[in-house]
């Protein structure tokens, strides 16, 4: 192996375990004698590792909209990827309740303010526990409670935000009835650059839902503690 053969492609082959044994032996023989080659190899190794660290994959988030999408398709009896109607949401909820994942009280009203993603996510114990335990402004496991209020019949309700990934968020409104948080409204904000909206505009689904349930003003932290189930 001469100098001209010791190019970056060969170093790559060596690094990636793609070099045949006889060629690898010759390469290692040369490597032991050549400080420049050692330095180049180390530099490649170092930058590879830095890139692996920078692009390390995270675990699957149960709040990832794609997870919800895939799971909902797997519920479908014919395996097709049809988008569900609101009646499909009810069917999905019934299927979930039969398997022990109780959702209940899914459709607050006939408007399409509750979508499938929200229903699935609210069925998770993680979100139920977060809504039961977190004070406004606190966050855990990608769930942040924004504020609390009460319906005109004193039922506690909460506005919350769910981070599905680094950039994808959703907002939801939920009220607790029969010991479970029931979804009132859900809004997928999309990626972060789409999520920032002026306070005056934006999320009409959430605003309309809060208006519709005739909510009181935001509760203070002290008032909120009255319905939190701290463990």
């Amino acid at each position: 192996m001469n100098n001209s053969e010791l190019n970056d492609e060969l170093i790559c082959m060596y690094l990636d375990g793609e070099m045949p044994k006889d060629q690898r032996d010759a390469f290692e023989h040369r490597l032991a004698q050549d400080a420049g080659l050692q330095a180049r190899l180390q530099r490649f190794r170092s930058s590879d590792q830095q890139l692996r660290d920078a692009f390390a994959v995270s675990d699957v988030s149960e709040f990832d909209p794609l997870v919800t999408r895939i799971k909902s398709t797997s519920f479908s009896s014919d395996g097709s990827a049809k988008t569900r109607s609101k009646f499909g949401v009810i069917a999905l909820a019934l299927a979930a309740s039969m398997t022990g994942v109780m959702i209940g009280g899914i459709v607050w009203n006939s408007k399409t303010t509750v979508n499938e993603s929200g229903v699935n996510i609210l069925a998770s114990d993680t979100l139920q526990n977060s809504l039961n335990q977190l004070q406004s402004g606190e966050s855990r496991n990608g769930v942040e409670v924004v504020l609390s209020f009460r319906k005109n019949d004193k039922t506690p309700c909460r506005l919350f935000e769910v981070s599905h990934s680094k950039t994808i968020k959703s907002e939801g409104v939920s009220c607790r009835e029969n010991g479970r948080w029931q979804l009132v409204a859900w809004f997928d904000k999309g990626s972060s650059e789409e999520a920032y909206r002026p306070a005056s505009g934006g999320n009409s689904i959430i605003d309309e839902a809060i208006d519709r349930i005739d909510a009181t003003g935001p509760l203070s932290l002290e008032q909120e503690k009255e319905f939190l189930l701290k463990k």
């Binding site: 492609e9 930058s47 895939i70 797997s74 097709s80 968020k169 990626s191």
Partner: protein, 168 residues
């Protein structure tokens, strides 16, 4: 869930990384991934392809990206600043900026080099599998990978690996 759906969910983080690296931005990558998942849900792979679902999905993503490139000239938008809302709250700003700089180094490479680097170095694919996934000759994988590594090594600071040095 069926084995296909279960496996697809498990693959999402890797598929997302590949899609974002291929597209060069989080938002374009997310669009690409959504399209690929929809395509996979509508046209499930044959059972004998399930063991290699990752490669199958990489090919779907790659083909969709090529379709996208053909249909319109896309303007690459740099990857947004890392905004990890799920974790990293305890990471200091300097470290996050370093990570962001490293990420931008890869995303600054030409598309073809980025795809090869992601599959071989980040995914650990063999040159042959990478060539099959991207529909290119193995020699092209080697040359693109070599150029990618050379560019990256020239741009990011050298940090000797812990295993190669001894701290004094």
């Amino acid at each position: 869930m069926t084995p296909f759906h279960d496996k697809l969910v498990g693959l999402l983080p890797r598929l997302r990384r590949f899609a974002q690296n291929l597209a060069g931005s989080i938002s374009d990558g997310e669009d690409l991934l959504h399209s690929a998942v929809e395509r996979a849900l509508k046209n499930e792979p044959a059972p004998n392809e399930l063991p290699h679902l990752d490669r199958w999905m990489f090919r779907v993503i790659k083909n969709l990206w090529i379709d996208e490139l053909r249909s319109k000239r896309r303007q690459n938008v740099p990857l947004e600043m890392v905004e990890d809302v799920m974790s990293d709250y305890n990471e200091n700003t300097e470290k996050r900026l370093d990570l962001e700089k490293i990420r931008r180094t890869l995303l600054g490479l030409p598309d073809d080099q980025r795809a090869v680097f992601t599959l071989v170095v980040l995914e650990g694919m063999s040159y042959q599998d990478c060539a099959t996934t991207l529909d290119i000759p193995t020699g092209t994988v080697m040359s693109r990978l070599s150029r990618a590594r050379s560019s990256i090594a020239a741009k990011i600071s050298y940090e000797p690996l812990k295993t190669a040095t001894r701290k004094t």
